[in-house]
Amino acid sequence: MGAECRYEVAQAAYIKLVLHALKHRASPVGGLLVGRLFEDNASTVQIADAIPLTHSQIGLLPSLELALIQVEEHFGAEGFSVVGYYHANERYDDAELGNAAKKIGDHIFRYFPRAALLLLDNNRLEELLKGKERDLVVQLYTRDSSKSWHQAGSDGSSQLTMKGPSANVLLLDYISSEKWQNIVDFDDHLDDISKDWLNPNLFE
């Protein structure tokens, strides 16, 4: 089921997740992906936004539970729901989708069977920072009936696309202006509730 599904990522979602990873380069980071099925094309999932979640101790669940509840509550009114999870590994040379991320993916899958996991590709990110990368710096994983997560696109098909052109160019611009300093995740919010995990003013 997941194999034929396509995913279209909005620029805001893509940029937020990369900025989140750049803000906390020495830790694993993760966040929720928010979106919905396209009305006219039910085999495409629109990933409209990314909500940064945490930059430490991915394995501890209370903040995940809280975030899921509050994110669903906030976006439900607009017809969006949690459609996936993004993750960046702590170590540069770790290109594996870890168990913690898979567990979160499994949890989301129960409510949204087309759930997507996006894993940040550290090599591509490195190339991007040098200005040499044209592809998206994330790897897509989907879950099929075998209950395991498979990396998409290994057979050449492009299941993951970006809405709008030259997202990497825009991303580089934000990186050079050190926009990643301003990113707030749910963890930050729990430490200081005046910080907003919606990051409403990030792109101003």
Binding site: P28, S56, Q57, I58, G59, L60, L61, P62, S63, E65, L66, I69, Q70, E73, H74, R91, D93, D94, N99, A100, K103, H189, L190, D191, I193, S194, D196
Partner: protein, 252 residues
């Protein structure tokens, strides 16, 4: 040269002592220089990623100085950098047998255990931390979250040891409550923690004896405190919070 090795302020005394020694003892100076050089070399090798050579160098240094904290920690760091978490755990445990008051090391070990989903062991580390530093709220919080996880694992495995789960949840709730006390009720994480624990506990003991039911005062107070905080500092999120607390039956 001193500054690289002796980063800790508490080693200032040692630095001064060593400066005196250096002035008056040429042998000491030579031995120290040699040790410094070896250590720097080892650190350089490590930074370059030449793991095997760095390991050999550190092993050498430890033979001469088995109580060298810096070298012990470099071994752990190297194991982590190579993704060898079980070795890192091993080294850290051995280190903590000698230096059992090293809070950073306990916390580091706990975090590795969490990343390996070994929550019981993580909880043990946080216990050690709490025992040694009873007044620091941060550790209470992390321990509570680690304990709460034991229950979640139970859910996932669908094992019916609810009593075990219940105890852990109740312990977690107590730790969250302690944190609330220590932080004057200002810690959102702890307030949320009490709420989440209460909901999970009540779900577990549904249909059980009324006597075992949790008193609802603590979680109601926590819920009210959260509402007050959000009204004050994060009014935009108040509707979402209110709905959540209502759905959890913590407020009416």
């Amino acid at each position: 040269m001193h500054r690289i090795v002796l980063k800790d302020k508490s080693n200032l005394l040692v630095t001064n002592f060593m400066s005196i020694l250096l002035k008056f003892s040429p042998n000491f100076k030579r031995a120290l220089q040699q040790r410094m050089e070896t250590q720097l070399e080892a650190m350089l090798l490590e930074a370059k990623g030449a793991w095997a050579d760095a390991e050999k160098a550190y092993a050498c240094l430890l033979e001469d100085n088995p109580l060298d904290q810096v070298v012990h920690k470099r071994k752990v760091a190297m194991a982590k950098a190579q993704g060898n978490l079980s070795a890192a755990v091993d080294f850290l445990n051995k280190y903590l047998e000698i230096f059992m008051a090293d809070h950073d090391a306990w916390r580091e070990l706990a975090e590795i255990y969490v990343s390996l989903q070994m929550y019981k062991q993580a909880a043990f580390c946080y216990e050690e931390l709490i025992l040694s530093q009873l007044t620091v709220p941060l550790y209470h919080l992390a321990y509570a979250e680690a304990s709460g996880l034991l229950l979640t694992s139970a859910h996932i495995l669908k094992v019916l040891y609810t009593m075990g789960g219940l105890e852990n949840l109740q312990a977690a709730k107590k730790y969250y409550a302690a944190t609330i006390n220590l932080t004057g009720g200002k810690n959102a994480r702890a307030l949320y923690g009490v709420c989440l624990c209460s909901v999970a506990i009540n779900q577990l003991i549904k249909g059980r004896n009324k006597e075992e039911k949790e008193s609802s005062e603590l979680q109601s107070l926590a819920a009210e405190a959260l509402l007050k905080d959000y009204k004050h500092k994060s009014p935009g999120k108040l509707p979402v919070l209110t709905t959540m607390l209502k759905n959890m039956k913590l407020i009416s």
